[in-house]
């Protein structure tokens, strides 16, 4: 999943890096095929080259030797809202077929079953990034017909409005990368399964998904991690923070 996400990054991309798996994917890409990847963190670090895997997006290792450290106002206004962020990464507790994400609450906001952390920068990343990559493990609890709360907009709102109608400048979700396979989004903004992980069937994907899965005409195999990449990943995360 991390490897598959890393392969979405092109050398020279300007990436807004979230914590967790995206962080690992970006640092893997930088260590392998995309050495000129420009990593930007919502904390204010631009062109970071962390010498240890950052535990948080505000780790001091992101500051030391970065190209620039700027205020969060600049990050959100001059970098993100200005449209300079090529790639954003998000995950969440719930996702629907249009790529809407929930990281706020399970149940009702005013009387929640599970209170999640909330948006942080996720909402604005989903609004503004030119390409948005979603990374989540599949389960019926997570891949839902309708999110309890939409924290970060996907391709269509519950009322059917498109991104253009909602005034969202960014491109919206381009891939939904999961442990079982990969979804693209078609012209109507709906998720379409295009890749299957090794040994996984469409039935297994459907069993872990709360909506009726649509498949591409041709399903590709999801690329597997060879030993060299696996070793690289272990080296990047010696404390097994994310692996």
């Amino acid at each position: 999943m991390v490897y598959r996400a890393a392969r979405e990054l092109r050398d020279g991309d300007v990436v807004f890096v979230g914590i967790g798996l995206p962080n690992l994917a970006c640092n893997l890409a930088r260590a392998t095929h995309a050495p000129s990847l420009c990593l930007i963190y919502e904390s204010g670090a631009v062109g970071a080259v962390p010498q240890r895997l950052p535990v948080s997006i505000g780790d001091p290792a992101l500051v030391t030797d970065s190209l620039a450290v700027v205020s969060q106002a600049d990050i959100f206004q001059c970098y993100l809202q200005r449209g300079l962020i090529g790639v954003g990464f998000l995950g969440g507790a719930q996702v629907d077929r249009f790529g809407n994400l929930n990281t706020t609450v399970v149940g009702d906001w005013a009387a929640p079953k599970i209170r999640l952390p909330g948006s942080g920068g996720a909402c604005e990343i989903a609004v503004h990034a030119q390409r948005l990559l979603l990374i989540m493990r599949m389960s019926k609890r997570a891949f839902v017909e309708t999110c309890d709360f939409v924290t970060s907009p996907g391709h269509r709102a519950a009322n059917g409005k498109t991104r253009r109608e909602l005034g969202l400048p960014g491109g919206g979700p381009t891939r939904l990368i999961t442990d079982l396979g990969v979804f693209d989004f078609d012209a109507t903004g709906e998720a379409v399964l295009t890749e299957l992980a090794q040994g996984v069937t469409v039935e297994q994907v459907q069993a872990a998904c709360g909506w009726t899965v649509r498949c591409a005409a041709q399903l590709e195999p999801m690329p597997t991690v060879d030993e060299a990449v696996a070793a690289r990943l272990r080296a990047l995360d010696p404390q097994r923070l994310y692996l």
């Binding site: 999640l116 909330g118 609004v127 939409v150 924290t151 991104r163 909602l166």
Partner: protein, 300 residues
């Protein structure tokens, strides 16, 4: 005229029950020393304002100081939940929440610090946030006709701003991650600058581009070395990530969290006491390895 006082004096004098208090710092420069003093002084009915409530607000919530929380991300970064926060929201319903995204709350500080009543931003389209927060509204651009989101200005009663160095008048310099320290300071009615190093004004004047907060908007200055632990201060000490990981278990168990407060907050008189308890060995482990930049030339 020196504005230097102890943390106890600053909090007693400037923070009143019912005040809105913004304790800023994004991962970096979070002033736990001020948070603990608020708890020790049993401040009540506070409106607590931070983008990321973090452990310090989990502790304030557990201690019963907070009535209303204005925030955008309430978790333990890279670890998990803030359990006192979750209990207050999920079980006790004892906390009023006013929820934003980071950009949304930051924009409130931008308006507040700029003397404007609102701030426009492109955001929130297609999300549920406006349904639960009536402060999110919109304006129509007078040039393009497009609708933009707005947030109202926020002007907290008190801001607590930690920095690497400041002089006795509160001219404060910081580097590394800025968070929203500058915006929060300018937005607030009273500003407490807490500093790792108290320096002469000459040190400030020798590198004026580094000044984040000018002394004339500062009410009080507190000299509090290691005032951010377990958060960090670039160039001084590292983040105590083990503490953040351990907090998961402490805060999950209400009784254990109460014992933790007894031991580490109520049980010590001040930050010096806390550090003595923390121990020299732990401090030595966390002390930053030097990585000094070269200076620049201000001559003419």
């Amino acid at each position: 005229m020196s504005k230097v006082v102890s943390m106890r004096e600053a909090i007693a004098e400037l923070v009143h029950d019912g005040d809105s208090v913004c304790l800023d710092g994004f991962t970096h420069l979070i002033c736990f020393a001020a948070g603990h003093e608020l708890i020790r002084q049993k401040k009540r009915r506070l409106t607590a304002i931070r983008l990321t409530p973090d452990l310090v607000f989990d502790q304030l919530i557990a201690a019963g100081c907070v009535e209303r929380l204005v925030f955008s991300w309430g978790g333990n970064p890279g670890v998990g939940s803030l359990h006192a926060f979750r209990r207050a929201v999920e079980r006790d319903r004892s906390l009023t929440l006013e929820e934003y995204s980071h950009f949304g709350l930051l924009a409130r500080f931008l308006a507040g610090s700029s003397g404007l009543p609102f701030w426009p931003l492109k955001n929130f389209g297609g999300t549920s946030l406006p349904e639960v927060n009536p402060a999110l509204r919109s304006v129509v651009c007078p040039y393009t006709g497009e609708a933009l989101a707005t947030v109202p200005a926020i002007n907290p009663d008190v801001a607590i701003v930690h920095c690497q160095r400041a002089d006795e008048e509160g001219n404060a310099q910081a580097w590394g991650l800025y968070g929203a320290q500058k915006e929060v300071a300018f937005a607030s009615k009273r500003v407490v600058v807490v500093t790792e190093e108290l320096v002469s004004t000459d040190v400030i004047r020798a590198d004026p581009n580094r000044t984040l907060v000018p002394g004339f908007i500062v009410s009080r200055v507190v000299h509090e070395p290691w005032g951010c632990h377990p958060s960090y201060v670039q160039g001084h000490y590292d983040r105590d990530n083990d503490f953040y990981v351990a907090w998961e278990d402490v805060s999950r168990d209400e009784a254990r969290l109460a014992r933790w407060l007894d031991e580490w907050v109520y049980g010590v008189p001040d930050r010096a006491g806390y550090l003595q308890k923390l121990g020299a060995a732990r401090q030595a482990q966390l002390t930053a390895k030097p990585r000094r930049s070269a200076g620049v030339d201000y001559g003419f």
